[in-house]
Symmetry: C2
Subunit: 203 residues, 2 copies
DNA sequence: TATTAGTTTAACCATTTGGTTAATGCAAAA
DNA sequence: TTTTGCATTAACCAAATGGTTAAACTAATA
């Protein structure tokens, strides 16, 4: 394969990301993707065969990157709270760079829940589950208070991700309340999540 | 207008809700909506003129209901923490009844951010802003600690809404961690959010 | 019973859609 | 230079799409 090929394929993928992220699988138009990539529409089929396969490619990549942010939970060289704080830093930085990523995943899961179930089992580096196991273990060892690991996990994810997901709603609320608010405020965001962690996990 | 008319219009709206919530404005098909409602497709145009107007009707309704959950923030007969706790109870109950509601709003905002900006200014019962004002006032009166009202608001909404938004992701994580988790767990959810509030707002 | 007004239907329309096909272009190898 | 294999293009296709139209239906009124 020549350099031009790599270029065309990548251009298609970048364009597809943009269009699928905005319109979803069913709302996106192949001609739009071709226009965005600056290529002839037939090339989409030449390189990716059909709309669904192109979407799969994009969605699988997004899922993979998303779950990668949770791998730090398995890093046994770090104490528990440090792993969680690393996750907070990492996830918030990741979502700052790709603000639409969470929304995209959530959107498509909402439309095709069964499909998601299949896909997520194909992700090999699936370390997202380990936080619950690690929390359970630490609870048994009395290193942390007896909390509900599932609730903690949900709260942690919620605090990290939802401000990005609901960003336009918050902007309007803030605007209407005549509050000045500089955007982005990652350090404040990270700090507030870490405070929550400290509150829940300190003896 | 006869009863049959009210019936047809309502049937269309219920069907449109289902289809728009799943596929969004651009992914939804008018024939699908008609099939779901059990009517002839031309009736969609007879009653709602075109796809966009039908969508507007559904989306405006959703937005309105969503923001209604925040009206309790303005209830001056209640102390601050009670208002917030009422909001927590209310919002979580609301999202339990309409689990797709947040996702729907977030999805459509993500696709059409400008449109949302216009629409949200038309909502009359717009009391969502008042929590920030109330928090500021209470901070000045030294009734609560000096917190960042915007961060607090974002965290509050995050903790309430995101578990519903990301429900399929959590289900997979929980399943993979071999944890038993009974669904729905509203009381635990509410309690954990209220604990957060108490943590942030107690002197 | 005939008329009227509103509701519903089936057929139709122009455009769009995802995908196919054959010809052409391009670069590398023989 | 010719051949080969891959990449790209423009035209095409059948079906789907949102929307329109006129006829038929229905119930209420005169």
């Amino acid at each position: 394969m020549k350099l031009a090929d790599v270029n065309t394929e990548e251009r298609i993928l970048e364009a597809a990301k943009k269009v699928f992220m905005k319109y979803g699988l069913y709302g996106a138009r192949m001609q739009d993707i071709a226009d965005t990539a600056g290529i002839n529409k037939a090339l989409l089929h030449y390189y990716f065969r059909n709309k669904e396969k192109l979407f799969d490619h994009v969605f699988d990549g997004a899922l993979s990157k998303y779950f990668q942010q949770m791998e730090v939970f398995s890093d046994k060289s770090l104490p528990l709270i440090e792993r969680i704080n690393r996750y907070i830093d990492q996830m918030i930085d990741f979502l700052t760079e790709y603000p639409q990523m969470s929304i995209f995943i959530i959107k498509e899961i909402s439309t095709n829940p069964e499909l998601f179930h299949d896909k997520v089992h194909k992700i090999k580096n699936h370390k997202s589950t380990s936080l619950i196991a690690v929390l359970k273990e630490s609870i048994e060892l009395k290193e942390i208070p007896d909390i509900d690991p599932v609730i903690f996990l949900m709260n942690l994810h919620s605090l990290c991700a939802y401000p990005f997901v609901a960003s336009p709603i918050f902007k309007v609320i803030i605007e209407k309340s005549k509050t000045t608010w500089s955007d982005p405020n990652n350090e404040k965001h990270k700090q507030s999540v870490k405070e929550f962690v400290a509150f829940k996990l300190s003896n």
